[in-house]
């Protein structure tokens, strides 16, 4: 006997058993996942149309479906109504829905095990079940003795999981392909990058993975999956801010102007997965999309003093890695937003983790400057040596910065003094500064190996 025959037989019997036709196994799922907890599910499967009105049930849709976005399309089928039943089948709900109808109760004699059957009408289920048996009114299991309750059937709209049903009007009888599409939350993705930095050659190897997470409550079998790098959502709120209330250090030094060869959707790049995949519920899945070796990367240090203030203790400078994403001397790809993890080999040659940073969607041809953490040996101590009041709106501040380097090699620290509000000019400085913006001055300070460097600056501020 062939598989097809058995399947046909079983399908026929199922159809006899329950009125709404169940779908066959050979459905084709296509899922497009956006970066911010949003996915478009397209579910293509043949549907048996009876002709006339019928209810079609879609089991196995996402439990976090947005029912208002559901659309069903099939030739010669008109949609009458769509229902999303989210009342779950539990013993309590089963009893609640049985109010006014008749159930069978089975009393069990504790001594003999003998069963007595009676028909009972459920009158109420408020803080206890009240039954009408013949002309008597009883509370279920009031005496604590065992009583089984048997229901004839499960009420139609109670399900073990949320289920979508569509009532349609078909023009003629027969099987035809139908496409169900809807938006759901609970599916998301981001990129994860592994960057192995080689200190000797100042190069990085970068691998990129897309990481899919599914907490939608449903498993998507054998789905054709595409990821969209970008968030098309404009409706609704949302905020962007740094974790600590401080301005985030800019990572994108220059925004790239190169175009990649990946497929696009409007302004967004598409990342189709090469093979169909099963996205199980509660699963984290990773698929590779980038593998580049020997990209030049520069290791440097950065320290920002957020206002003209004193730090009581020396503060660590940030370790910064700078690299390009262009096709020449870079990663040669646009980077979807995600977390970039840096590794470096220890003295025994084993890769060790040295810090991570999130990066935003980055166009190809950009220069990125990513911080991995604090440098243990490179520290800066800013001190306000003098603050003089020249008039009610004018101050003169003398800042002294002591930079120390306990490492056995000379380093250069990009020292930034932020918070230069108002009209703040540098009256004198022991090193030439640049002014990346009106609020900030920057010095490139060379600190010798196992040594210190000093910088003294006098600021003249008018507010």
């Amino acid at each position: 006997m062939s598989i097809r025959t058995i399947l046909a037989a079983s399908c026929a019997l199922v159809a006899l058993q329950s009125a709404p036709p169940a779908f066959a196994q050979d459905k084709a799922l296509a899922i497009t996942i956006y970066a911010d907890d949003l996915a478009l599910v397209q579910d293509k499967r043949p549907v048996d149309v009876t002709g006339g009105r019928q209810r079609i049930e879609f089991a196995g849709v996402s439990a976090q479906i947005r029912p208002e976005t559901v659309s069903l399309s099939a030739n010669g089928v008109t949609i009458v109504e769509q229902n999303f039943d989210f009342d779950l089948l539990t013993p309590a709900k089963l009893m609640e829905k049985a109010v006014g109808s008749v159930v069978t109760i089975v009393r069990v004699n504790p001594a003999t095990g003998e069963e007595t059957r009676e028909q009972a009408e459920v009158l109420a289920t408020n803080n206890g079940v009240v039954l009408k048996i013949g002309e008597r009114i009883e509370v279920l299991r009031d005496d604590g003795l065992p009583v089984r309750v048997i229901f004839d059937k499960v009420p139609e709209n109670l399900r073990s999981r949320p289920t979508l049903s569509v009532t349609v009007d078909g023009d003629r009888r027969g099987s035809r392909p139908a496409t169900l599409s809807y938006l759901t939350s609970g599916l998301g993705w981001r990129a994860d990058y592994v960057a192995l930095f080689d200190d000797a050659s100042s190069k990085i190897d970068v691998q990129g993975w897309v990481t899919l997470t599914n907490s939608s409550g449903t498993t998507y079998d054998n789905a054709d999956t595409t990821l969209v790098a970008g968030s098309p959502l404009r409706a609704g709120g949302g905020y962007q801010g740094s974790q600590y209330g401080r301005p985030q250090r800019p990572q994108l030094v220059t925004a790239g102007t190169e175009t990649g060869d990946r497929e696009r959707l409007g302004d967004f790049y598409l990342y189709p997965l090469a093979e169909r995949t099963t996205i199980a519920n509660m699963q984290t899945k990773q698929v590779s999309f980038l593998d580049v070796h020997g990209v030049p990367a520069k290791n440097g240090y950065e320290f920002r003093n957020y206002w003209m203030g004193t730090q009581e203790e020396p503060q660590s400078a940030k370790t910064v890695y700078r690299f390009a994403t262009g096709s020449a001397d870079g990663l040669g790809d646009q980077l979807p937003a995600g977390v970039l993890r840096f590794y470096m080999r220890d003295k025994q040659g084993d890769p060790q983790f040295i810090g991570e940073s999130t990066i935003d969607h980055t166009p190809m041809g950009s220069t990125l400057s990513v911080s991995t953490g604090d440098a243990f040996d490179v520290k800066v101590k800013p001190v306000v040596e003098k603050r003089e009041r020249l008039s009610s709106r004018r101050w003169r501040t003398t800042m002294n910065y002591t930079l120390s380097n306990a490492s056995p090699r000379a380093v250069t620290v990009a020292l930034q003094q932020d918070g230069l509000w108002g009209d703040t000019r540098i009256q004198s400085e022991t090193m030439r500064s640049t002014r990346p913006n009106a609020d900030m001055a920057e010095w490139q300070v060379n600190v010798p190996a196992n040594g210190t460097a000093e910088l003294t600056v006098v600021f003249d501020s008018s507010y």
């Binding site: 196994q25 004699n109 930095f197 953490g373």
Partner: protein, 552 residues
């Protein structure tokens, strides 16, 4: 009858259909790790001090070497027994000749509730066993219709019933464990090979629920001029997974962490069998709540007829979190070797060691003897502010350099300071104070800040506050400019009840519109502020005045 028949055929269809899918990717379990390396990183948001064993916010990089034999075809290679705090997105698998098609981690583990869910989803047959009070058990075949929200609804040829709502002992037996769920946290990768290979595969990932801190024990010499510093690395594993015979490293320094929340492992739930409302005619209405008194020896669990079945047992994960870690293992005194790892410091534990589940472990970090120190009594003052007598703080100050018998990177941690009380046979080593240390690079000034006793006290009295009208004349070379609002004189008194002289350091925190114009003693400068360094003779007191001006 017909219904049962149709199900059996459907089941047959299922089995046949699922066979080719199984052949598509074969499940294959990699060997247990043959080599493990654990590198522990501290909580990046803790700047100093120690950690809480029940709330470990650090993490670890775990690298496991496993062996695997692959036959031609597509395989789902499973790595069982990874740390339950695994960050799946950080996993790296190397050593597979054809690379990795995809990596997966399922957050759900095999549990009673997972069995119910799987039986419901697959509409598989289950066996209902029901035992009447007289001990007779009846079995009935059926299907689970729902396991939603902790209640179980099943259907047998009798009809639809709810599990464990009848008051009879009822349970379900499952036909198989086709849940696809693992008993242990598992990471799997999909790979394809063309020929039989034996591969050594490395899996590395970051896992949460680890932490470490340095613990320093500082002993002051009897003359108070030198101290011995001993350091321990205390590392802890809060995971349910042990790493036997591992190479252990510790990394000091603050790393950026940006990964955010991870989907935690779901250890599953018991089958709760929640029922319909169970109120009875003997129930007291809710608002009048009388706590029941039980006679001695009464076990409410055994006798309560109605309520206990609906009481959910604590979920497994919660029960685990409640178990305390009281296991501290000290592993000898061979010191950890330090090396530079980029801009961080890496410490290598000298011998292989087992990082057991829910265990804290200590490894020797350093021993430095006879570190010269100066003992300074310290206080910060604001001018124009009268304060009553207060004890001054004690700083034990040294330099982290070779000349001071240190000169090594000191990772942040807790410090216990011991001093010897008494002398000769009656001398005892007692805890003199506890403090913490930040990350200290070589050549940095190193300070142990302790709370001082009552012996050294300081008081400041604002003696006068005058509006200078007309402006006062020049004071000792300083010009008081026009526009001065107040002209203040503060008196500082420091008392010393010790039988030896002490060094005191008083910093004056001036506001931006304040200037120090005159003082009895010449102030030095530290951190841009005037500092008075004063020697107070044994059992005496010292006083001095300073004058400040506040401008509009």
């Amino acid at each position: 009858m017909r219904i049962a028949h149709s199900r059996r055929i459907l089941l047959a269809a299922f089995v046949v259909l699922s066979a080719p899918i199984a052949a598509h990717a074969q499940d294959l379990t990699a060997s247990a790790p043959v080599d493990v390396s654990v590198t522990v990183y501290r909580d990046p948001f803790r700047s100093k001090g120690g950690f809480d064993l029940d709330n470990l916010n650090g993490f670890a990089l775990i690298t496991e070497t496993r062996r695997v034999v692959l036959m031609p075809g597509q395989h789902r290679l499973r790595f069982e027994g990874v740390a339950d705090g695994i960050e799946p997105a950080s996993a790296i698998v190397t050593g597979l000749p054809s690379g990795v098609i995809e990596k997966n981690r399922d957050a759900a583990l095999l549990s009673p509730a997972a069995l119910v869910d799987a039986a419901e989803a697959q509409q598989g047959r289950v066996l209902l066993s029901r035992t009447a009070p007289n001990g007779i058990t009846t079995r009935r075949e059926g299907v689970i219709r729902s396991g939603a929200e902790g209640g179980v609804v099943f259907e047998t040829p009798d009809g639809v019933e709810a599990l464990r709502c009848s008051g009879l002992a009822e349970t379900v037996t499952f036909e198989s464990t086709r849940t696809g769920l693992s008993a242990q946290p598992t990471l799997s990768v999909l790979t394809r090979v063309n020929q039989r290979i034996e591969a050594t595969v490395q899996l590395s990932y970051l896992a949460r629920g680890f932490d470490w801190a340095a613990d320093y024990v500082v002993s002051l010499s009897p003359d108070g001029r030198k101290l011995d510093v001993g350091g321990w690395i205390t590392l802890a594993n809060g995971n349910g997974t042990s790493f036997p015979n591992a190479r252990v490293q510790i990394v000091a320094g603050r790393l950026n962490r940006d990964s955010g929340e991870i989907e935690p492992i779901d250890f599953g739930r018991p089958i709760l069998a929640r029922c319909w409302p169970r109120g009875s005619t003997s129930d007291t209405p809710d608002p009048v709540y009388i706590e029941r008194a039980y006679p001695l020896g009464f076990e409410p669990d055994r006798y309560s007829s109605r309520d206990y079945m609906a009481m959910p047992a604590p979920p497994a994960a919660m029960a685990m979190a409640e178990s305390k870690m009281d296991d501290v293992v000290v592993t000898g005194a061979r010191r950890a070797k330090q090396e530079d790892l980029g801009d961080l410091k890496l410490y290598r534990v000298p011998d292989r060691s087992t990082v057991a589940s829910r265990q804290a472990k200590q490894v020797r970090l350093l021993d430095s003897l006879a570190v010269p120190i100066s003992r300074v009594y310290d206080f910060d003052l604001n001018p124009n502010n009268t304060i009553e007598f207060q004890p001054m703080e004690v700083i034990l100050r040294t330099q982290n350099d070779q000349a001071s018998n240190l000169g090594i990177p000191l990772p942040s941690g807790r410090v216990s300071v011991f001093e010897t009380a008494g002398s000769g046979a009656t001398s005892r080593r007692l805890l003199a104070g506890e403090t913490s240390l930040r990350d200290l690079a070589v050549n940095e000034e190193t300070e142990f800040l302790l709370s001082g006793g009552a012996a050294v006290q300081i008081r400041q009295t604002t003696e006068s506050r005058q509006r200078p009208d007309p402006p006062p004349a020049d004071v000792k070379g300083q010009t008081i400019r026009t526009g001065a609002r107040f002209n203040m004189i503060d008196l500082v008194e420091i008392t010393n009840a010790h039988p030896f002289p002490i060094q005191a350091e008083v910093s004056v925190y001036l506001a931006d519109n304040e200037e120090l114009v005159r003082a009895d003693r010449d102030p030095e400068r530290k951190n841009g502020r005037p500092v008075f360094r004063v020697t107070v003779p044994a059992n005496e007191s010292v006083e001095f005045r300073y004058q400040t001006v506040e401008y509009n």
